[in-house]
């Protein structure tokens, strides 16, 4: 059983970043909601905690805007589950948003960790 981390050590996801993370997880293959939440928590080394209510709302939003689609299927342990997969539009969006995010983080880094400015 994974020990739930203290809330202080977790970072609430920035508005809009959850969508990006979901798209990234789905790039690797279809997955159901619970799996997506698990994947995000695991890959962020338990820093990001996904509020499950928000997760499903985000999934719905993505589905509504045609970035992902869904169908009912059977999980690895034979449970019925709704599986999500990335659409072409979702893939394009993921690439665009990732590029944008990389530029943002690079710019943030340049400002926040100046190399030789303060002498």
């Amino acid at each position: 059983m994974p020990t739930p981390k203290d809330d202080n050590e977790r970072i609430t996801l920035l508005q809009g970043t959850l969508d990006l993370l979901i798209l990234r997880v789905l790039l690797l293959g279809t997955c159901h909601g619970q799996g997506i939440a698990k994947a995000i928590q695991r890959q962020s080394e338990e820093v990001f905690f996904v509020d499950h209510g928000s997760l499903y709302l985000a999934l719905q939003r993505l589905e509504d805007s045609g970035l992902i689609c869904a169908k009912w299927g059977v999980s690895e342990n034979n449970r019925k589950a709704r599986f999500y997969l990335l659409t072409e539009r979702g893939r394009a969006q993921l690439i665009a948003k990732t590029t944008w995010w990389n530029r943002l983080t690079r710019a943030m880094e340049l400002i926040l960790s100046p190399v030789n400015e303060e002498v």
Partner: protein, 894 residues
């Protein structure tokens, strides 16, 4: 937004259940027991119900939230720019308030003309059509035929407007009411408040039967203190006792729009109350009944009209002696020419048009102000776009702010309407009609809906340009240019130019409209009536309501004329039935002229007046040939006589001398004894009309009116007290009469034109003022924006004079474009307006409101010139300021 088929909430719930199971499976796999695992899974998920609710609300919640954000932000912006908000809201309140008032009137007069009746949409007016196509009221025998033979109607009723004298002789009061067919209330579907209305047993055609009366709620409250025991009591009307059987419900005011009556009495009481001879009730010539019919459910207007026409055509053949060539038709209630609505329809349409014009100008002004402000807010918008706000979202924000502004304007405007609505009275001519005008003041769904619609339309009209501009913001240029004002956007300049041009165009339309109406009115005023109304006091007596017989009335006239004639200062005295250029319907008689063969279908109903010998000299109507009436032309003379006018002589006698010829009317042969000059009889703009006069003492009948004229050397008003004293001296009980200088009275026939002209002038001035303010602010603003450019030009050696020329030239170029568009629009509108006519008197005659001035080039030229001057000044003032500043300073303003 495209709506996908919404996902079923059940499906979503199912997904959550699956999630919880998968989570529990994971926990169980790591060694937790089943029940604990399920519990922990639920805890980890949190509130499932909330999640489902959020799922259900997803689309709506966001939309509502955004709207609330927009409204909050919009309100903050309004509060921050108080001056801007105040100016905008006030202009909008003027525009919306005026439109709402106009609509309130139109609603009361045209759309929902009658209150307190059942299913008003099925009620129609029944009009008899003359062989020349004009509409006239119905006769009682016609009504009986209609009533008994029409199948597609749920009843047809007739009514006759009448003044009653209520109470004892010495303190009688005049009350207006209707004399109606017995089935009147049942056809209209009116309910009693207390007591009862007329019963089927009382729907009788027997003269004098059923002396009963129904009164209005208003009269019951003011005269009986709303005492329910009034039912069954008697009321003294025209010196006869009638039994009050009931009071109608408060919403019912009678069968004529915007008119409030107080008494309803069966028409069959005419012989008793007004001394009308019984044969007159059976006379098809006696057309004094307005008809209202109710269509059966499922019957269309056209079917009913067809049935009525077929019957009327048959009746015209069957009663060829009186009704040859006549027919009948149905009209919507508001189209009947026999009530105030006939007067109001034309002016109200124009009023609505003008209000739309004012509203458009207001919208253009607000759009301009918003555009100017949008330029200032460009930085804010750019920043929000850079932070990721959608352009659509921003455009919606701009529209929301606009809606807040128009909404506030609408609320303010609505608050003004109850006061403005009362002004309807001033649209009515002075006299009886004005007393009767009443408006339903209760909040009205139609009016509120109209205002809301206007409010949204105004928001769209004013907000669409600024919203589009936000959509086109060039993010890069904005951020790169460091938010320099006014540099960016040729498209914006085009937009502003278009707005300036449209303001000029609208102002031109307003000015031209006002000019055309004023000129039309002026032209009408210059028309000579053909008689001299100055220094004449006119009084109208209602003697029959005092119980006078025909002989007593004639005797009263003779004695009053005698007494007034000997009063110092009085030069002439006369009396007659009809008053020229008045509002009362004019009457005619069907004539047969010896030696004249009428063409097929020729209208031989000729208008006439019944006058005393003094009438023609008093009116200064010249007698061209033959003689005037004398006192010998009386009841005892062997042969009745007649005087015709010039048009009559020209038309029916061509080259022959009319004097001595015989003409048949009223069942008798008249000898023509004189020819008089033409004058105006119904309205000033009328063409020359055949007309004739017959002597009072030979022709005067029970159902005729009594007008008394006194010509004096001085102010006619000075004669009023003498007249009152003398009338009392003959009979102390004569209290019921109206008096007014003839000059004022005949002004009534000009009323629709006067109203149209004054409305256009008032609203035209408002429109012009608004357009001038708009024009000036836009011009001034665009010059301020070009300060930098002007600075550069001057730094490069441009002279102030050439800068001035450039700026004014630019302004005038825009003005010229606007004028061209406005002139085209104004010409088109004027052509439409020239077709707007009004009906005056009960004649169904149509007179043009505008006269022949629709294309008057002088009006167009003057309006255009005026606007050129206004825009030149509007450009010149800020340009002079710009040209006078130091170029260096101008450059540094950046």
């Amino acid at each position: 937004m495209i709506w996908r088929r919404r996902r079923d909430p059940k499906d979503f719930a199912e997904e959550i259940r699956a999630h919880l199971q998968l989570e529990a499976d994971d926990l169980e796999a790591s060694g937790v027991n089943t029940r604990e695992a399920e519990r922990l899974a639920r805890v980890a998920f949190g509130n499932t119900v909330a999640a489902q609710e959020r799922f259900n609300l997803r689309g709506r919640a966001m939309w509502l939230e955004h709207l609330l954000q927009d409204v909050r932000f919009g309100l903050r912006m309004m509060m921050r720019n108080r001056a801007f908000t105040a100016v905008t809201v006030l202009t909008l309140a003027i525009g919306i308030g005026a439109s709402t008032t106009a609509f309130t009137w139109i609603n009361a007069v045209l759309l929902q003309p009658l209150g307190g009746v059942a299913d008003p949409n099925r009620l129609v007016t029944v009009e008899t059509v003359m062989s020349n196509g004009s509409w006239v009221p119905n006769s009682y025998p016609d009504y009986q035929d209609f009533r008994d033979h029409l199948k597609l109607f749920d009843g047809i009723a007739v009514t006759h407007i009448a003044a009653f004298s209520v109470g004892k002789e010495d303190h009688a009061e005049r009350v207006w009411g209707e004399m109606v067919s017995g089935n009147f209330f049942s056809v209209l579907g009116v309910r009693p408040e207390i007591g009862r209305l007329f019963l089927p047993a009382e729907f009788s055609d027997t003269p004098g039967k059923f002396p009963i009366a129904v009164m209005s709620d208003r009269y019951w409250r003011s005269h009986y203190g709303a005492d329910p025991s009034v039912v069954g009591r008697t009321i003294r009307i025209n010196q006869h006792e009638l039994t009050i059987v009931g009071v109608v419900e408060p919403a019912f005011h009678g069968s004529i729009p915007v008119t409030a009556f107080d008494l309803w009495i069966p028409y069959m009481q005419q012989p008793v109350l007004n001394g009308v001879k019984e044969w007159m009730l059976r006379d098809r010539h006696n057309r004094n009944m307005l008809g209202i019919a109710r269509l059966k459910p499922g019957v269309t207007f056209d079917q009913a009209r067809q049935e009525l026409k077929v019957l009327a055509d048959r009746m015209a053949v069957a009663n060829a002696d009186v009704s040859e060539g006549m027919s009948a038709t149905l009209l919507p209630l508001w189209k009947s020419p026999h009530g105030p609505q006939g007067l109001l329809v034309g002016p109200l349409r124009i009023l609505m048009g003008v209000c739309v014009l004012v509203l458009l100008i207001v919208c253009a002004n607000v759009a301009n102000l918003l555009l100017a402000r949008a330029t200032v807010r460009e930085k804010e918008f750019s920043a929000r776009i850079a932070l990721g706000a959608g352009r659509v979202r921003l455009a919606r924000q701009v529209l929301t702010e606009c809606l807040l502004l128009t909404g506030s304007g609408a609320v303010l405007g609505l608050a003004l309407t109850p006061w403005l609505s009362h002004a309807l009275k001033y649209l009515m001519p002075p006299g009886n009609l004005q007393l009767l005008v009443s408006m339903d003041q209760r909040p009205n769904f139609a009016v509120l809906a109209f205002t809301a619609g206007v409010c949204v339309l105004a928001a769209l009209a004013a907000g669409i340009a600024p919203a589009l501009q936000v959509g086109q913001l060039q993010l890069n240029s904005q951020l790169n240019a460091n938010g320099r004002n006014g540099g960016a956007g040729r498209s914006r300049n085009r937009l502003r130019s278009a707005l300036v041009a449209s303001e000029v165009a609208l102002a031109l339309v307003a000015l031209v409209g006002a000019g055309l109406f004023a000129r039309g009115f002026q032209q009408t005023l210059r028309i000579e009536p053909g008689f001299d109304p100055n220094h004449v006091l006119l009084s109208q007596f209602y003697l029959s309501t005092n119980g006078y017989s025909l002989a007593q009335r004639k005797e009263f006239c003779r004695r009053l004329a005698e007494r007034m004639g000997s009063t110092p200062g009085v030069t002439d005295v006369a009396y007659s039935d009809g008053v020229p250029l008045g509002f009362e319907p004019s009457w005619w008689e069907e004539l047969r002229i010896d030696g004249y063969a009428p063409r097929p279908n020729e209208n031989m109903n000729i208008f006439r007046n019944v006058v005393s010998p003094g009438y023609l000299p008093l009116m200064h109507i010249p007698i061209l040939e033959g003689r005037n009436f004398t006192d010998e032309d009386n009841e005892n003379s062997t042969e009745p006589v007649m005087i015709v006018n010039q048009s009559f002589a020209r038309h029916f006698f061509a080259d022959r001398d009319p004097i001595g010829h015989k003409i048949h009317g009223w069942g008798d042969w008249f000898r023509v004894v004189g020819v008089v000059a033409d004058s105006k009889y119904h309205y000033l703009g009328e063409p020359a009309t055949p007309y004739f006069y017959v002597p009072f003492r030979q022709i005067y009948r029970e159902d005729m009116n009594l007008a008394f004229y006194i010509r004096s050397a001085g102010d006619p008003d000075d004669m009023l007290s003498t007249l009152r004293t003398q009338a009392r001296a003959i009979d102390p009980n004569v209290t019921v009469f109206d008096a007014a200088p003839l000059k004022e009275f005949i002004g009534a026939s000009l009323y629709p034109q006067k109203v149209a002209a004054s409305l256009m002038t008032v609203l035209g001035v408002v429109a012009l003022l608004l357009a001038t303010i708009g024009l000036y602010s836009v011009m001034a603003y665009s010059v301020v924006q070009r300060t930098h450019e002007i600075g550069v030009r001057m730094a490069l050696g441009a002279q102030p004079a050439s800068v001035l020329r450039m700026v004014i030239g630019h302004g005038l170029a825009l003005t010229a474009m606007g004028l061209a568009a406005g002139a085209a629009l104004a010409l088109a509108l004027a052509r439409t307006l020239a077709g707007v006519s009004f009906t005056n008197s009960g004649m169904g005659t149509h007179a043009s409101l505008m006269g022949g001035s629709a294309k008057d080039p002088l009006v167009y030229a003057a309006a255009a010139l005026f606007l050129c001057v206004v825009s030149a000044v509007a450009a010149w003032l800020p340009a002079r300021r710009a040209a006078s500043i130091d170029p260096m300073k101008a450059l540094r303003t950046e």
